[in-house]
Symmetry: C2
Subunit: 383 residues, 2 copies
């Protein structure tokens, strides 16, 4: 089965491409490589040295004999996207190819506009090329749990049945996204839902939680295959950041009270979730939504776990409660459902001491590469 991974040079995309290739899928990667450019603009580097995509793919082929096709270009360019699909002829498209950082989208107006235009237009282009020439292709689109915000009721998977004034309907779950980036994903979800309805396309929206970890069976096989691991205030995400902070002796940066609770998952589950979605395509005309996370933690929970693991390794770990640069509830109800992927066979890697040890040791290995100036958050949500 041929799978095109859009954004296959990124953190989740690269791990997914190799995993799928290893599972016997015919994999193509489409990527504009713009994320590498954004790193340069922000003067940040991921913890790990990332090799050029061509070298990574070449090494993968050398190790496994598996070929991965590469298409470098931007999906906001419709001609390029259409040509790529006609050349590769995917049966499934995994779409990671978006600007995926909330702080990046909140830097200023230009970044907010760029994030929304880039993400919305890229996804619209995919929908149109599917409509025109690949109506049976299955779109597996990465959304985010952050689309839901923190409602005071249970979060269902995409839809909720509402009884109101004696009548009942099952409607899209109300969204309360918390950044212009998260908003772009909500816009995408609405657009994709509509395209499935009117054109009979099939799509799965994976509302992914915060991903942690770095090694997968595939990316751990060679230094050239190593995955990126972001620690900076713009692209770094909670648990990964804490481990790197612990490794270099920087206090863990908890925003506000730290009661913010979110869904989390190991990157080894990310890649498996994608495969599950691909292997179980949804029917034509259906917009299916899975919540893709395995556990819920508050930020303070995570900081405490990293502190404990760090101390047991002899690290000196402190927790700093910073003024929250974001506008968000710091104590709230949070209970999100995630049974769809489990029902299709996902066997989670739950967060464990051994994972934390491995991640801390990984961070220690590369700690000389950390630029401490990029750890504290610099982007504010406030006026």
């Amino acid at each position: 089965m041929k799978v095109l991974v859009i954004g296959g040079d990124g953190y989740c995309g690269w791990a997914t491409a190799l995993y799928l290739s290893n599972q016997g899928y015919e994999v193509g990667i489409l990527d504009s490589l713009v994320r590498r450019e954004w790193d340069r603009q922000l003067e940040v580097e991921t913890l790990t040295p990332i090799f050029p995509i061509q070298q990574r793919i070449e090494r993968w082929k050398g190790l496994t004999g598996q070929k991965i096709d590469l298409y470098i270009g931007d999906i906001t360019n419709y001609e390029f996207l259409s040509q790529t699909l006609h050349q590769f002829e995917p049966e499934a498209i995994v779409h990671f190819g978006e600007q995926r950082s909330a702080p990046f989208s909140m830097i200023d107006r230009e970044h907010a506009v760029m994030t929304q235009v880039n993400n919305v237009v890229g996804t619209l282009n995919i929908l149109y090329v599917m409509k025109e020439d690949f109506p049976d292709c299955h779109l597996v689109k990465l959304g985010t749990m952050g689309e839901y915000g923190t409602p005071n009721i249970d979060i269902e998977e995409g839809y909720i049945t509402i009884e109101h004034n004696g009548r009942k309907d099952t409607l899209p779950y109300p969204k309360q996204p918390g950044s212009f980036y998260h908003l772009s994903k909500v816009h995408d979800s609405h657009n994709i839902h509509f395209a499935c309805k009117i054109w009979g396309l099939r799509a799965t929206d994976l509302n992914q939680g915060v991903v942690y970890g770095v090694l997968t069976d595939e990316t751990g096989r060679d230094e050239l295959l190593v995955n990126r691991l972001d620690y900076d205030g713009v692209f770094g995400t909670a648990l990964n950041r804490f481990c790197i902070q612990a490794a270099i002796g920087h206090p863990l940066t908890v925003y506000g009270q730290g009661g913010q609770t979110r869904g989390f998952l190991d990157i080894r589950d990310t890649v498996r979730c994608i495969e599950i979605a691909i292997a179980n395509p949804t029917e034509a005309g259906k917009f299916r939504v899975f919540n893709q996370f395995t556990e819920m933690f508050s930020i303070v929970d995570l900081a405490m776990m990293v502190k404990k693991a760090g101390i047991s390794m002899g690290l000196d770990v402190e927790i700093n409660y910073l003024e929250n640069p974001r506008v968000e509830l710091e104590q709230h109800y949070f209970n999100a459902k995630n049974t769809n992927l489990l029902g299709l066979g996902l066997q989670p890697h739950y967060l464990s001491d051994s994972l934390l040890d491995s991640l801390l040791n990984f961070a220690i290995k590369y700690k000389e590469r950390v630029d401490k100036n990029h750890i504290l958050p610099k982007v504010s949500w406030h006026r």
Copy 2:
């Protein structure tokens, strides 16, 4: 009080600008005039001859002594928008300045992308300029009842209280928009809601129904002030189109079974609703939503009323049930609330025989200008 009407050269915008000017508001119009350009591209003309905006404003000043400031430019150009606001210093912004046709947005990929980028970026720019320099300004944004779609439960005004698994919360009402245009308005609503929350801005989202009628006290005062009246398949809307079709002896174009039910209002109520919103600004940080319509009708209801009114005037009126170019339910539950504006003093002009007579006579007056080639729908929602 200074009010900037963005999109003040359009159907609702022009009527609103004159009405507010007549009520003693200091009015500025910002418009890119792109709608006139789209008419040329589609080779359609509104039923009425529309004079250049400069002449319209000059005549208004001649008749009333009231000056209306004019700013020609595009709000997707942030510099222009910011300069205009610094020059005019509005206390309220009425934002009609979007691509507002569902069929236009469904012509092809380019039109879908243009509609969403144009509408979303224009509104983002307004939010950013308000955040930067006009945080107390009240944004009165035109949304659409079409954001809601046709759920099987009552439609509330923007929010719904949901009881679920023993807990309760009031959340944004779930949206099921039916075109890439309607989707753009949903995107806007989410973006504005977020900006109010994080920056303390104040905004009122007016989810307007289908507007009918053409004459207001102000636009009827002079031939140069006459409002546009669209009859073509792209920009024309239900009731207005039916009256013009009746006037020229064209069968009324009902799509499908015609059981599609929507909210409607007289353009004389549109202008009054805008004034009510301006005169009752919402508090800082609040995203307020009003459903702006006065009555609900099915398409068949409207066709029957126009047929009856036409026949009593001696016209020969037939109804054609066309294959529906849209993807939408043709028989469905529809019950939408509209008490917020009524509670603030709106006294509706309900649809009446005299309004239909007046609209039919108006259409007859200009009927030689109708190009029959543009009456039938040419844009399809289907793959």
